[in-house]
Protein backbone atom coordinates (compact mmCIF):
# COMPACT_ATOMS: atom_id res chain seq x y z
CA UNK A 1 0.00 0.00 0.00
CA UNK A 2 1.36 3.44 -0.94
CA UNK A 3 2.08 5.91 1.83
CA UNK A 4 -0.99 7.81 2.97
CA UNK A 5 -1.18 11.50 2.20
CA UNK A 6 -2.52 12.38 5.64
CA UNK A 7 -1.51 10.37 8.67
CA UNK A 8 -2.99 11.01 12.07
CA UNK A 9 -1.29 8.90 14.73
CA UNK A 10 -2.28 8.61 18.37
CA UNK A 11 -3.84 12.05 18.34
CA UNK A 12 -5.15 13.29 21.67
CA UNK A 13 -6.72 16.71 21.91
CA UNK A 14 -7.91 17.81 25.31
CA UNK A 15 -9.66 20.88 26.66
CA UNK A 16 -8.42 22.12 29.98
CA UNK A 17 -11.53 23.68 31.47
CA UNK A 18 -12.38 24.92 34.92
CA UNK A 19 -14.34 21.72 35.59
CA UNK A 20 -11.56 19.42 34.48
CA UNK A 21 -10.00 17.90 31.41
CA UNK A 22 -12.33 17.20 28.49
CA UNK A 23 -10.81 14.37 26.48
CA UNK A 24 -12.43 15.37 23.21
CA UNK A 25 -10.12 13.21 21.09
CA UNK A 26 -8.26 10.29 22.64
CA UNK A 27 -5.53 8.32 20.88
CA UNK A 28 -7.06 8.57 17.46
CA UNK A 29 -5.21 7.05 14.53
CA UNK A 30 -6.33 7.29 10.95
CA UNK A 31 -4.72 7.42 7.55
CA UNK A 32 -6.05 8.87 4.33
CA UNK A 33 -4.61 7.74 1.01
CA UNK A 34 -4.20 10.02 -1.99
CA UNK A 35 -7.52 10.59 -3.72
CA UNK A 36 -9.28 8.54 -1.08
CA UNK A 37 -12.47 9.57 0.69
CA UNK A 38 -12.51 8.72 4.37
CA UNK A 39 -15.70 9.05 6.36
CA UNK A 40 -15.72 9.78 10.07
CA UNK A 41 -19.05 9.05 11.72
CA UNK A 42 -20.35 9.32 15.23
CA UNK A 43 -22.96 10.98 17.34
CA UNK A 44 -22.92 14.64 18.24
CA UNK A 45 -20.13 15.48 20.65
CA UNK A 46 -17.91 12.50 19.91
CA UNK A 47 -14.98 14.65 18.81
CA UNK A 48 -15.33 14.80 15.03
CA UNK A 49 -14.99 18.56 14.73
CA UNK A 50 -12.16 18.69 17.24
CA UNK A 51 -10.32 16.08 15.16
CA UNK A 52 -10.62 18.18 12.02
CA UNK A 53 -9.67 21.40 13.81
CA UNK A 54 -6.65 19.58 15.23
CA UNK A 55 -5.45 18.77 11.73
CA UNK A 56 -5.77 22.45 10.84
CA UNK A 57 -4.18 23.37 14.17
CA UNK A 58 -7.17 25.62 14.82
CA UNK A 59 -8.33 24.11 18.11
CA UNK A 60 -9.51 26.85 20.40
CA UNK A 61 -6.57 28.00 22.45
CA UNK A 62 -5.48 28.28 25.16
CA UNK A 63 -8.01 25.84 26.65
CA UNK A 64 -7.75 23.29 23.84
CA UNK A 65 -4.42 21.59 23.25
CA UNK A 66 -3.08 18.74 21.18
CA UNK A 67 -1.42 16.84 24.00
CA UNK A 68 -0.13 13.85 22.11
CA UNK A 69 0.34 12.32 18.71
CA UNK A 70 1.50 13.27 15.26
CA UNK A 71 -0.24 14.65 12.19
CA UNK A 72 1.68 14.19 8.96
CA UNK A 73 0.94 15.60 5.57
CA UNK A 74 2.96 13.65 3.02
CA UNK A 75 5.31 12.72 5.81
CA UNK A 76 5.72 16.30 7.04
CA UNK A 77 4.88 16.71 10.72
CA UNK A 78 2.32 19.51 10.99
CA UNK A 79 2.62 19.72 14.75
CA UNK A 80 6.27 20.71 14.40
CA UNK A 81 5.53 23.64 12.11
CA UNK A 82 5.51 27.24 13.24
CA UNK A 83 2.23 29.15 13.09
CA UNK A 84 3.57 31.01 10.04
CA UNK A 85 4.42 27.79 8.22
CA UNK A 86 1.04 26.39 9.19
CA UNK A 87 -0.67 29.35 7.53
CA UNK A 88 0.97 28.32 4.28
CA UNK A 89 -0.70 24.91 4.64
CA UNK A 90 -4.19 26.12 5.56
CA UNK A 91 -6.42 26.83 2.61
CA UNK A 92 -3.63 25.70 0.34
CA UNK A 93 -2.61 22.10 0.97
CA UNK A 94 -5.37 21.32 3.43
CA UNK A 95 -8.63 23.16 3.19
CA UNK A 96 -11.84 22.89 5.09
CA UNK A 97 -15.57 23.20 4.63
CA UNK A 98 -17.72 23.86 7.66
CA UNK A 99 -21.15 22.79 8.75
CA UNK A 100 -22.89 26.15 8.80
CA UNK A 101 -22.95 27.78 5.37
CA UNK A 102 -25.14 30.55 6.76
CA UNK A 103 -22.48 31.79 9.16
CA UNK A 104 -19.23 30.55 7.67
CA UNK A 105 -18.94 33.33 5.11
CA UNK A 106 -18.14 36.85 6.20
CA UNK A 107 -21.37 38.86 5.89
CA UNK A 108 -19.71 42.18 5.15
CA UNK A 109 -17.30 41.07 2.43
CA UNK A 110 -18.32 40.28 -1.12
CA UNK A 111 -18.12 36.73 -2.43
CA UNK A 112 -15.44 37.84 -4.87
CA UNK A 113 -13.33 39.39 -2.13
CA UNK A 114 -13.46 36.23 -0.04
CA UNK A 115 -12.56 33.97 -2.95
CA UNK A 116 -9.83 36.20 -4.30
CA UNK A 117 -8.10 36.70 -0.97
CA UNK A 118 -7.65 32.94 -0.63
CA UNK A 119 -6.22 32.65 -4.12
CA UNK A 120 -3.91 35.62 -3.76
CA UNK A 121 -2.80 34.47 -0.33
CA UNK A 122 -1.40 31.23 -1.69
CA UNK A 123 -0.75 31.94 -5.35
CA UNK A 124 1.27 35.02 -6.08
CA UNK A 125 -1.03 36.10 -8.88
CA UNK A 126 -2.34 39.49 -9.94
CA UNK A 127 -5.79 40.68 -8.91
CA UNK A 128 -7.04 40.11 -12.43
CA UNK A 129 -5.78 36.56 -12.61
CA UNK A 130 -7.21 35.82 -9.18
CA UNK A 131 -10.58 37.21 -10.30
CA UNK A 132 -10.50 34.94 -13.35
CA UNK A 133 -9.57 31.93 -11.24
CA UNK A 134 -12.39 32.75 -8.80
CA UNK A 135 -14.92 32.98 -11.61
CA UNK A 136 -13.68 29.65 -12.98
CA UNK A 137 -14.09 28.08 -9.56
CA UNK A 138 -17.65 29.39 -9.29
CA UNK A 139 -18.36 27.90 -12.68
CA UNK A 140 -16.82 24.62 -11.53
CA UNK A 141 -19.23 24.42 -8.59
CA UNK A 142 -22.07 25.15 -11.01
CA UNK A 143 -23.03 28.59 -9.82
CA UNK A 144 -24.99 30.42 -12.51
CA UNK A 145 -23.83 33.89 -13.60
CA UNK A 146 -20.54 33.73 -11.71
CA UNK A 147 -19.42 37.23 -12.69
CA UNK A 148 -22.45 38.72 -11.06
CA UNK A 149 -22.19 36.47 -7.96
CA UNK A 150 -18.66 37.75 -7.40
CA UNK A 151 -20.07 41.18 -6.59
CA UNK A 152 -22.80 39.89 -4.31
CA UNK A 153 -22.77 39.39 -0.56
CA UNK A 154 -23.55 36.19 1.36
CA UNK A 155 -26.97 37.39 2.51
CA UNK A 156 -28.09 37.55 -1.12
CA UNK A 157 -27.53 33.81 -1.58
CA UNK A 158 -29.32 30.67 -0.37
CA UNK A 159 -27.71 28.17 1.98
CA UNK A 160 -26.99 25.74 -0.83
CA UNK A 161 -25.36 28.49 -2.90
CA UNK A 162 -23.24 29.55 0.02
CA UNK A 163 -22.04 26.01 0.57
CA UNK A 164 -21.10 25.84 -3.12
CA UNK A 165 -19.08 28.98 -2.59
CA UNK A 166 -17.37 27.41 0.42
CA UNK A 167 -16.56 24.42 -1.79
CA UNK A 168 -15.21 26.70 -4.52
CA UNK A 169 -13.06 28.43 -1.93
CA UNK A 170 -11.82 25.13 -0.52
CA UNK A 171 -10.82 23.79 -3.94
CA UNK A 172 -9.44 27.10 -5.21
CA UNK A 173 -5.80 26.33 -4.43
CA UNK A 174 -5.88 22.63 -5.42
CA UNK A 175 -5.57 21.26 -1.90
CA UNK A 176 -4.15 17.79 -1.33
CA UNK A 177 -6.63 17.16 1.46
CA UNK A 178 -10.12 18.54 1.94
CA UNK A 179 -11.78 18.22 5.30
CA UNK A 180 -15.54 18.60 5.14
CA UNK A 181 -17.11 18.88 8.58
CA UNK A 182 -20.77 17.96 8.15
CA UNK A 183 -21.01 19.97 4.94
CA UNK A 184 -24.64 19.11 4.32
CA UNK A 185 -26.17 18.83 7.79
CA UNK A 186 -27.64 22.31 7.74
CA UNK A 187 -29.14 21.97 4.25
CA UNK A 188 -32.43 20.46 3.20
CA UNK A 189 -32.49 17.00 1.69
CA UNK A 190 -32.54 17.76 -2.04
CA UNK A 191 -29.76 20.34 -1.70
CA UNK A 192 -27.81 17.86 0.44
CA UNK A 193 -27.77 15.35 -2.38
CA UNK A 194 -26.64 17.98 -4.88
CA UNK A 195 -23.82 19.21 -2.68
CA UNK A 196 -22.60 15.68 -1.96
CA UNK A 197 -22.70 14.80 -5.65
CA UNK A 198 -20.75 17.95 -6.45
CA UNK A 199 -18.11 17.19 -3.83
CA UNK A 200 -17.71 13.59 -4.99
CA UNK A 201 -17.43 14.73 -8.56
CA UNK A 202 -14.76 17.34 -7.79
CA UNK A 203 -12.89 14.92 -5.58
CA UNK A 204 -12.65 12.37 -8.37
CA UNK A 205 -11.86 14.93 -11.03
CA UNK A 206 -9.16 16.71 -9.05
CA UNK A 207 -7.83 13.69 -7.17
CA UNK A 208 -8.19 15.37 -3.79
CA UNK A 209 -8.18 13.26 -0.66
CA UNK A 210 -11.31 13.94 1.36
CA UNK A 211 -12.12 13.51 5.02
CA UNK A 212 -15.88 13.64 5.26
CA UNK A 213 -17.22 14.13 8.73
CA UNK A 214 -20.85 13.28 9.30
CA UNK A 215 -23.25 11.59 11.67
CA UNK A 216 -25.12 10.09 8.74
CA UNK A 217 -23.99 6.63 7.66
CA UNK A 218 -26.05 7.00 4.50
CA UNK A 219 -23.83 9.88 3.37
CA UNK A 220 -20.76 7.75 4.03
CA UNK A 221 -22.19 4.87 2.04
CA UNK A 222 -22.65 7.12 -0.98
CA UNK A 223 -19.36 8.98 -0.97
CA UNK A 224 -16.58 7.22 0.93
CA UNK A 225 -14.28 4.26 0.44
CA UNK A 226 -13.25 3.88 4.05
CA UNK A 227 -14.96 4.78 7.26
CA UNK A 228 -14.06 5.36 10.87
CA UNK A 229 -16.66 5.13 13.60
CA UNK A 230 -15.93 7.37 16.56
CA UNK A 231 -17.45 7.16 19.97
CA UNK A 232 -16.76 9.57 22.83
CA UNK A 233 -13.42 10.73 21.47
CA UNK A 234 -12.18 7.30 20.41
CA UNK A 235 -12.10 5.27 17.26
CA UNK A 236 -14.17 2.16 17.86
CA UNK A 237 -14.21 0.67 14.36
CA UNK A 238 -12.53 1.20 11.01
CA UNK A 239 -13.19 -0.63 7.76
CA UNK A 240 -13.82 -0.34 4.05
CA UNK A 241 -17.31 1.01 3.56
CA UNK A 242 -18.78 -2.11 1.97
CA UNK A 243 -17.24 -4.31 4.63
CA UNK A 244 -18.55 -2.15 7.43
CA UNK A 245 -22.09 -2.24 6.14
CA UNK A 246 -21.93 -5.98 5.52
CA UNK A 247 -20.16 -6.96 8.70
CA UNK A 248 -20.41 -4.30 11.40
CA UNK A 249 -18.56 -5.58 14.46
CA UNK A 250 -18.87 -2.99 17.18
CA UNK A 251 -22.20 -2.89 19.04
CA UNK A 252 -22.19 0.90 18.61
CA UNK A 253 -21.81 0.62 14.84
CA UNK A 254 -24.66 -1.84 14.77
CA UNK A 255 -26.72 0.51 16.86
CA UNK A 256 -26.01 3.34 14.42
CA UNK A 257 -27.10 1.16 11.51
CA UNK A 258 -30.22 0.00 13.25
CA UNK A 259 -31.20 3.60 13.75
CA UNK A 260 -30.91 4.43 10.06
CA UNK A 261 -34.20 4.30 8.19
CA UNK A 262 -33.24 3.55 4.59
CA UNK A 263 -30.39 1.17 5.29
CA UNK A 264 -32.58 -0.77 7.61
CA UNK A 265 -35.34 -1.16 5.12
CA UNK A 266 -32.73 -2.57 2.77
CA UNK A 267 -32.12 -5.39 5.19
CA UNK A 268 -35.72 -6.43 4.75
CA UNK A 269 -35.95 -8.45 7.94
CA UNK A 270 -39.02 -6.75 9.28
CA UNK A 271 -37.32 -5.26 12.31
CA UNK A 272 -38.35 -1.86 13.49
CA UNK A 273 -36.05 1.14 13.80
CA UNK A 274 -34.15 1.14 17.03
CA UNK A 275 -32.46 3.97 18.73
CA UNK A 276 -29.45 3.44 20.93
CA UNK A 277 -30.62 3.81 24.50
CA UNK A 278 -28.80 6.21 26.78
CA UNK A 279 -26.58 9.19 26.15
CA UNK A 280 -23.01 9.81 25.08
CA UNK A 281 -21.04 9.88 28.31
CA UNK A 282 -19.38 13.07 29.41
CA UNK A 283 -15.86 13.43 28.08
CA UNK A 284 -14.93 15.13 31.31
CA UNK A 285 -12.69 12.65 33.16
CA UNK A 286 -14.33 9.60 31.60
CA UNK A 287 -14.34 6.33 33.57
CA UNK A 288 -11.92 3.55 32.68
CA UNK A 289 -12.80 0.76 30.29
CA UNK A 290 -14.87 0.87 27.13
CA UNK A 291 -16.70 4.19 26.89
CA UNK A 292 -19.70 2.57 25.27
CA UNK A 293 -20.09 0.07 28.13
CA UNK A 294 -22.79 2.11 29.84
CA UNK A 295 -25.09 1.84 26.82
CA UNK A 296 -24.06 -1.59 25.57
CA UNK A 297 -26.35 -4.56 25.93
CA UNK A 298 -23.37 -6.91 25.97
CA UNK A 299 -21.20 -5.15 28.50
CA UNK A 300 -19.44 -7.36 31.02
CA UNK A 301 -17.31 -6.61 34.03
CA UNK A 302 -14.24 -6.58 31.81
CA UNK A 303 -15.74 -3.80 29.67
CA UNK A 304 -16.05 -1.41 32.58
CA UNK A 305 -12.52 -1.91 33.84
CA UNK A 306 -10.28 -2.43 30.86
CA UNK A 307 -10.14 -0.48 27.65
CA UNK A 308 -10.56 -2.81 24.64
CA UNK A 309 -7.63 -2.60 22.20
CA UNK A 310 -8.14 -2.15 18.48
CA UNK A 311 -7.88 -5.58 16.89
CA UNK A 312 -7.92 -6.56 13.26
CA UNK A 313 -10.89 -8.83 12.78
CA UNK A 314 -10.76 -9.01 9.01
CA UNK A 315 -8.79 -7.55 6.11
CA UNK A 316 -8.36 -3.81 6.84
CA UNK A 317 -11.09 -4.02 9.44
CA UNK A 318 -10.34 -2.98 13.05
CA UNK A 319 -12.62 -3.03 16.05
CA UNK A 320 -12.18 -2.00 19.65
CA UNK A 321 -14.50 -4.33 21.52
CA UNK A 322 -13.98 -7.23 23.90
CA UNK A 323 -16.85 -9.18 22.40
CA UNK A 324 -16.19 -9.22 18.68
CA UNK A 325 -15.22 -12.84 18.91
CA UNK A 326 -18.85 -13.82 19.27
CA UNK A 327 -20.67 -12.07 16.47
CA UNK A 328 -23.70 -14.36 16.60
CA UNK A 329 -24.37 -13.48 20.18
CA UNK A 330 -23.89 -9.77 19.55
CA UNK A 331 -25.94 -9.68 16.39
CA UNK A 332 -29.56 -10.02 17.49
Amino acid sequence: METPILQIDDLSTHFFTRDGVVRAVDNLTCHVGAGEALGIVGESGCGKSVTSLSVMRLVQSPSGRIVNGAIRLQGRDLLALSEKEMREIRGNEISMIFQEPMTSLNPVLSIGCQLIETIRRHRGVSGKEAWQRAVDMLRLVQIPEPDQRMREYPHQLSGGMRQRIMIAMAFACDPKVLIADEPTTALDVTIQAQILALMSDLQKRLGTAVVLITHDLGVVAETCQRVIVMYAGRKVEEADVGDLFDRPRHPYTKGLMASMPHLHRGLGNGQRLKEIPGMVPSLLDPPPGCRFAGRCAHATALCTTEEPPLTETGPRHWVACWHTGAPAEVAQ
Binding site: L58, R90, F98, E100, N106, V108, L109, R121, Y153, H155
Partner: protein
Protein backbone atom coordinates in the same frame (compact mmCIF):
# COMPACT_ATOMS: atom_id res chain seq x y z
CA UNK B 1 -30.30 56.83 0.25
CA UNK B 2 -31.34 60.36 -0.75
CA UNK B 3 -34.97 59.51 -0.04
CA UNK B 4 -34.01 58.14 3.36
CA UNK B 5 -31.98 61.24 4.18
CA UNK B 6 -34.87 63.51 3.26
CA UNK B 7 -37.25 61.39 5.29
CA UNK B 8 -34.97 61.59 8.30
CA UNK B 9 -34.61 65.35 7.92
CA UNK B 10 -38.39 65.66 7.72
CA UNK B 11 -38.70 63.56 10.86
CA UNK B 12 -36.28 65.93 12.58
CA UNK B 13 -38.67 68.87 12.06
CA UNK B 14 -41.06 67.99 14.92
CA UNK B 15 -38.06 67.24 17.15
CA UNK B 16 -36.57 70.64 16.45
CA UNK B 17 -39.97 72.24 16.99
CA UNK B 18 -40.23 70.71 20.45
CA UNK B 19 -36.68 71.82 21.24
CA UNK B 20 -37.63 75.32 20.06
CA UNK B 21 -40.72 75.39 22.28
CA UNK B 22 -38.73 74.28 25.32
CA UNK B 23 -35.98 76.77 24.56
CA UNK B 24 -38.51 79.51 24.13
CA UNK B 25 -40.27 78.65 27.37
CA UNK B 26 -36.96 78.89 29.25
CA UNK B 27 -37.27 82.61 29.09
CA UNK B 28 -40.74 82.59 30.59
CA UNK B 29 -40.68 79.99 33.32
CA UNK B 30 -37.71 81.32 35.25
CA UNK B 31 -37.95 83.70 38.17
CA UNK B 32 -36.34 86.43 36.10
CA UNK B 33 -38.50 88.85 34.15
CA UNK B 34 -36.91 89.20 30.72
CA UNK B 35 -38.01 92.81 30.31
CA UNK B 36 -36.39 94.00 33.51
CA UNK B 37 -33.33 91.89 32.71
CA UNK B 38 -33.00 93.65 29.37
CA UNK B 39 -33.69 97.06 30.84
CA UNK B 40 -30.86 96.62 33.29
CA UNK B 41 -30.61 97.07 37.05
CA UNK B 42 -30.88 100.84 37.09
CA UNK B 43 -34.08 101.08 35.05
CA UNK B 44 -37.30 102.52 36.51
CA UNK B 45 -40.53 100.49 36.37
CA UNK B 46 -41.79 102.80 33.58
CA UNK B 47 -38.75 102.11 31.47
CA UNK B 48 -39.19 98.38 32.03
CA UNK B 49 -42.81 98.61 30.86
CA UNK B 50 -41.74 100.50 27.77
CA UNK B 51 -39.23 97.81 26.86
CA UNK B 52 -41.81 95.13 27.53
CA UNK B 53 -44.16 96.70 25.00
CA UNK B 54 -41.41 97.51 22.50
CA UNK B 55 -40.21 93.92 22.51
CA UNK B 56 -43.71 92.51 22.33
CA UNK B 57 -43.27 90.76 25.68
CA UNK B 58 -46.78 91.84 26.67
CA UNK B 59 -48.41 89.89 23.87
CA UNK B 60 -49.83 86.36 24.33
CA UNK B 61 -47.12 83.67 24.53
CA UNK B 62 -48.25 81.88 21.38
CA UNK B 63 -48.02 85.13 19.50
CA UNK B 64 -44.54 85.76 20.77
CA UNK B 65 -43.45 82.22 19.97
CA UNK B 66 -44.67 82.37 16.39
CA UNK B 67 -42.89 85.62 15.65
CA UNK B 68 -39.69 84.45 17.43
CA UNK B 69 -39.73 81.14 15.60
CA UNK B 70 -40.34 82.90 12.31
CA UNK B 71 -37.24 84.97 12.89
CA UNK B 72 -35.18 81.92 13.83
CA UNK B 73 -36.28 80.20 10.63
CA UNK B 74 -35.12 83.19 8.63
CA UNK B 75 -31.73 82.93 10.35
CA UNK B 76 -32.23 85.68 12.91
CA UNK B 77 -31.51 84.37 16.40
CA UNK B 78 -31.93 87.77 18.00
CA UNK B 79 -29.35 89.96 19.69
CA UNK B 80 -27.49 89.46 22.90
CA UNK B 81 -28.87 91.39 25.84
CA UNK B 82 -25.37 91.91 27.16
CA UNK B 83 -23.46 93.36 24.27
CA UNK B 84 -26.16 93.98 21.68
CA UNK B 85 -24.44 91.78 19.10
CA UNK B 86 -26.44 89.41 16.89
CA UNK B 87 -26.36 85.93 18.46
CA UNK B 88 -25.17 84.34 15.23
CA UNK B 89 -22.18 86.68 15.07
CA UNK B 90 -21.30 85.88 18.66
CA UNK B 91 -21.47 82.18 17.96
CA UNK B 92 -19.44 82.65 14.79
CA UNK B 93 -16.70 84.34 16.77
CA UNK B 94 -16.53 81.53 19.28
CA UNK B 95 -17.01 78.49 17.08
CA UNK B 96 -13.39 77.91 16.00
CA UNK B 97 -11.93 76.89 19.37
CA UNK B 98 -14.91 74.67 20.14
CA UNK B 99 -14.90 72.93 16.79
CA UNK B 100 -11.14 72.50 17.01
CA UNK B 101 -11.34 70.90 20.43
CA UNK B 102 -14.23 68.66 19.40
CA UNK B 103 -12.62 67.48 16.17
CA UNK B 104 -9.20 66.82 17.63
CA UNK B 105 -10.75 65.07 20.60
CA UNK B 106 -12.68 62.72 18.35
CA UNK B 107 -9.61 62.00 16.23
CA UNK B 108 -7.39 61.53 19.27
CA UNK B 109 -9.83 59.24 21.06
CA UNK B 110 -10.82 57.12 18.08
CA UNK B 111 -7.28 56.75 16.76
CA UNK B 112 -6.08 55.39 20.08
CA UNK B 113 -9.18 53.62 21.36
CA UNK B 114 -9.90 51.37 18.39
CA UNK B 115 -6.41 49.84 18.21
CA UNK B 116 -6.40 49.47 22.00
CA UNK B 117 -9.76 47.71 21.99
CA UNK B 118 -8.71 45.43 19.13
CA UNK B 119 -5.45 44.59 20.88
CA UNK B 120 -7.25 43.84 24.13
CA UNK B 121 -9.78 41.58 22.41
CA UNK B 122 -7.08 39.77 20.45
CA UNK B 123 -5.16 39.14 23.68
CA UNK B 124 -8.27 38.57 25.80
CA UNK B 125 -7.45 37.26 29.24
CA UNK B 126 -3.74 38.06 29.06
CA UNK B 127 -1.87 40.86 30.82
CA UNK B 128 -2.13 43.05 27.70
CA UNK B 129 -5.91 42.91 27.96
CA UNK B 130 -5.89 43.50 31.72
CA UNK B 131 -3.52 46.45 31.40
CA UNK B 132 -5.55 48.14 28.66
CA UNK B 133 -8.81 47.63 30.48
CA UNK B 134 -7.37 48.87 33.77
CA UNK B 135 -6.18 52.04 32.02
CA UNK B 136 -9.64 52.41 30.50
CA UNK B 137 -11.33 52.15 33.89
CA UNK B 138 -8.99 54.78 35.35
CA UNK B 139 -9.49 57.10 32.38
CA UNK B 140 -13.22 56.62 32.55
CA UNK B 141 -13.51 57.47 36.21
CA UNK B 142 -11.46 60.67 36.17
CA UNK B 143 -13.49 63.87 35.80
CA UNK B 144 -12.41 66.16 33.00
CA UNK B 145 -11.50 69.06 35.29
CA UNK B 146 -9.31 66.84 37.48
CA UNK B 147 -7.40 65.44 34.50
CA UNK B 148 -7.12 68.96 33.13
CA UNK B 149 -5.58 70.39 36.28
CA UNK B 150 -3.26 67.41 36.72
CA UNK B 151 -2.02 67.76 33.14
CA UNK B 152 -1.57 71.50 33.50
CA UNK B 153 0.42 70.97 36.67
CA UNK B 154 2.66 68.32 35.17
CA UNK B 155 3.20 69.51 31.62
CA UNK B 156 2.81 73.27 31.88
CA UNK B 157 3.98 74.21 35.33
CA UNK B 158 6.51 71.47 36.16
CA UNK B 159 7.90 70.59 32.74
CA UNK B 160 7.00 73.86 31.03
CA UNK B 161 6.33 72.01 27.78
CA UNK B 162 2.92 73.40 26.98
CA UNK B 163 0.95 76.57 27.59
CA UNK B 164 -1.07 76.64 30.80
CA UNK B 165 -4.22 78.11 29.36
CA UNK B 166 -5.71 80.02 26.49
CA UNK B 167 -6.25 79.58 22.78
CA UNK B 168 -4.45 80.70 19.66
CA UNK B 169 -6.45 80.79 16.43
CA UNK B 170 -5.30 78.74 13.46
CA UNK B 171 -4.78 81.96 11.53
CA UNK B 172 -1.93 82.79 13.91
CA UNK B 173 0.11 79.75 12.86
CA UNK B 174 -0.26 75.99 13.13
CA UNK B 175 2.36 75.55 15.86
CA UNK B 176 0.86 77.74 18.58
CA UNK B 177 -2.62 76.59 17.57
CA UNK B 178 -1.77 72.94 18.12
CA UNK B 179 0.26 73.55 21.28
CA UNK B 180 -2.71 75.20 22.90
CA UNK B 181 -4.99 72.34 21.94
CA UNK B 182 -2.95 69.41 23.29
CA UNK B 183 -3.95 69.52 26.95
CA UNK B 184 -7.64 70.39 26.43
CA UNK B 185 -7.97 67.60 23.88
CA UNK B 186 -6.23 65.01 26.03
CA UNK B 187 -8.19 65.83 29.16
CA UNK B 188 -11.50 65.86 27.33
CA UNK B 189 -10.63 62.82 25.21
CA UNK B 190 -9.65 60.35 27.93
CA UNK B 191 -13.21 59.50 28.98
CA UNK B 192 -14.24 59.24 25.37
CA UNK B 193 -11.22 57.05 24.62
CA UNK B 194 -12.04 54.70 27.47
CA UNK B 195 -15.65 54.38 26.34
CA UNK B 196 -14.73 53.52 22.75
CA UNK B 197 -11.93 51.15 23.79
CA UNK B 198 -14.28 49.17 26.00
CA UNK B 199 -16.94 48.99 23.31
CA UNK B 200 -14.39 47.99 20.67
CA UNK B 201 -13.07 45.21 22.87
CA UNK B 202 -16.52 43.85 23.67
CA UNK B 203 -17.67 43.90 20.06
CA UNK B 204 -14.44 42.44 18.74
CA UNK B 205 -14.57 39.61 21.29
CA UNK B 206 -17.99 38.68 20.01
CA UNK B 207 -16.98 38.94 16.37
CA UNK B 208 -13.78 36.93 16.86
CA UNK B 209 -15.92 34.01 18.06
CA UNK B 210 -17.94 33.93 14.87
CA UNK B 211 -17.75 31.09 12.36
CA UNK B 212 -16.50 33.33 9.56
CA UNK B 213 -13.40 34.20 11.55
CA UNK B 214 -12.65 30.48 11.83
CA UNK B 215 -13.16 30.26 8.06
CA UNK B 216 -10.71 33.11 7.55
CA UNK B 217 -8.13 31.30 9.68
CA UNK B 218 -8.76 28.06 7.82
CA UNK B 219 -7.93 29.90 4.60
CA UNK B 220 -4.48 30.67 5.95
CA UNK B 221 -4.95 34.43 6.23
CA UNK B 222 -2.64 36.40 8.48
CA UNK B 223 -3.71 37.90 11.79
CA UNK B 224 -3.62 41.49 10.61
CA UNK B 225 -5.95 40.84 7.71
CA UNK B 226 -8.29 38.80 9.89
CA UNK B 227 -8.41 41.47 12.58
CA UNK B 228 -8.66 44.55 10.45
CA UNK B 229 -10.66 43.40 7.46
CA UNK B 230 -12.69 40.42 8.63
CA UNK B 231 -13.33 41.32 12.25
CA UNK B 232 -13.18 45.09 12.54
CA UNK B 233 -15.46 45.68 9.58
CA UNK B 234 -18.07 43.52 11.28
CA UNK B 235 -17.54 45.30 14.58
CA UNK B 236 -17.67 48.75 13.00
CA UNK B 237 -21.32 49.59 13.53
CA UNK B 238 -21.54 49.24 17.31
CA UNK B 239 -18.27 51.14 17.57
CA UNK B 240 -19.55 53.94 15.35
CA UNK B 241 -22.73 54.10 17.42
CA UNK B 242 -20.65 54.55 20.56
CA UNK B 243 -18.61 57.24 18.89
CA UNK B 244 -21.87 59.00 18.05
CA UNK B 245 -23.12 58.84 21.62
CA UNK B 246 -19.73 60.04 22.74
CA UNK B 247 -19.90 63.08 20.50
CA UNK B 248 -23.22 64.01 22.06
CA UNK B 249 -21.74 63.63 25.53
CA UNK B 250 -18.74 65.67 24.41
CA UNK B 251 -20.90 68.79 24.27
CA UNK B 252 -21.12 68.89 28.06
CA UNK B 253 -17.41 68.14 28.38
CA UNK B 254 -16.44 70.97 26.08
CA UNK B 255 -18.03 73.47 28.45
CA UNK B 256 -15.95 72.19 31.37
CA UNK B 257 -12.77 72.00 29.30
CA UNK B 258 -13.12 75.53 28.03
CA UNK B 259 -13.57 76.74 31.56
CA UNK B 260 -10.56 74.87 32.91
CA UNK B 261 -8.31 76.07 30.09
CA UNK B 262 -9.85 79.54 29.76
CA UNK B 263 -10.67 79.02 26.10
CA UNK B 264 -13.07 81.50 24.52
CA UNK B 265 -15.36 78.98 22.81
CA UNK B 266 -19.05 78.24 22.66
CA UNK B 267 -18.84 76.59 26.07
CA UNK B 268 -17.64 79.76 27.70
CA UNK B 269 -20.18 81.76 25.76
CA UNK B 270 -22.93 79.50 27.08
CA UNK B 271 -21.78 79.69 30.68
CA UNK B 272 -21.51 83.45 30.55
CA UNK B 273 -24.95 83.68 28.98
CA UNK B 274 -26.49 81.41 31.61
CA UNK B 275 -24.90 83.29 34.49
CA UNK B 276 -26.12 86.61 33.16
CA UNK B 277 -29.48 85.35 31.91
CA UNK B 278 -28.69 86.36 28.33
CA UNK B 279 -31.74 84.54 26.95
CA UNK B 280 -31.29 85.07 23.21
CA UNK B 281 -27.76 83.63 23.40
CA UNK B 282 -28.89 80.66 25.49
CA UNK B 283 -31.71 79.95 23.07
CA UNK B 284 -29.48 80.25 20.04
CA UNK B 285 -26.79 77.95 21.42
CA UNK B 286 -29.31 75.32 22.46
CA UNK B 287 -30.96 75.36 19.05
CA UNK B 288 -27.62 75.08 17.28
CA UNK B 289 -26.41 72.23 19.48
CA UNK B 290 -29.69 70.38 18.96
CA UNK B 291 -29.46 70.77 15.20
CA UNK B 292 -25.85 69.56 15.29
CA UNK B 293 -26.94 66.58 17.36
CA UNK B 294 -29.69 65.65 14.92
CA UNK B 295 -27.28 65.91 11.99
CA UNK B 296 -24.57 63.85 13.71
CA UNK B 297 -27.09 61.12 14.42
CA UNK B 298 -28.18 61.14 10.81
CA UNK B 299 -24.59 60.95 9.62
CA UNK B 300 -23.97 57.97 11.90
CA UNK B 301 -27.06 56.13 10.70
CA UNK B 302 -26.02 56.74 7.12
CA UNK B 303 -22.52 55.45 7.83
CA UNK B 304 -23.90 52.03 8.85
CA UNK B 305 -24.49 51.23 5.19
CA UNK B 306 -20.83 51.91 4.54
CA UNK B 307 -19.70 48.94 6.63
CA UNK B 308 -22.58 46.51 6.29
CA UNK B 309 -23.95 45.62 2.85
CA UNK B 310 -27.09 44.18 4.48
CA UNK B 311 -28.12 47.70 5.44
CA UNK B 312 -29.58 49.62 2.53
CA UNK B 313 -31.50 52.85 2.75
Amino acid sequence: MLAYTLKRLAAAVPVMLIVAIITFMLMHIGSVDPASRIAGELATPEEVEKIRIAMGLDRPLLHQFVSWFGQVLSGDFGTSILNRMPVLDLVGQRIEPTLSIALFTIVFAVALAVPMGVLAAWNAGTWVDHLIMALAVIAFSMPVFLVGYLLIYQFSIELRLLPVQGYKPLAGGVGPYLRHLVLPVVSLGLVFLALIARMTRATMLEVLNQDYIRTARAKGLGNTRILVLHALKNAANPIVTTIGFGIAALIGGVVVTETVFAIPGIGRLTIDAVIRRDFPVIQGVILLFSAAYVLINLAIDLSYALFDPRIRY
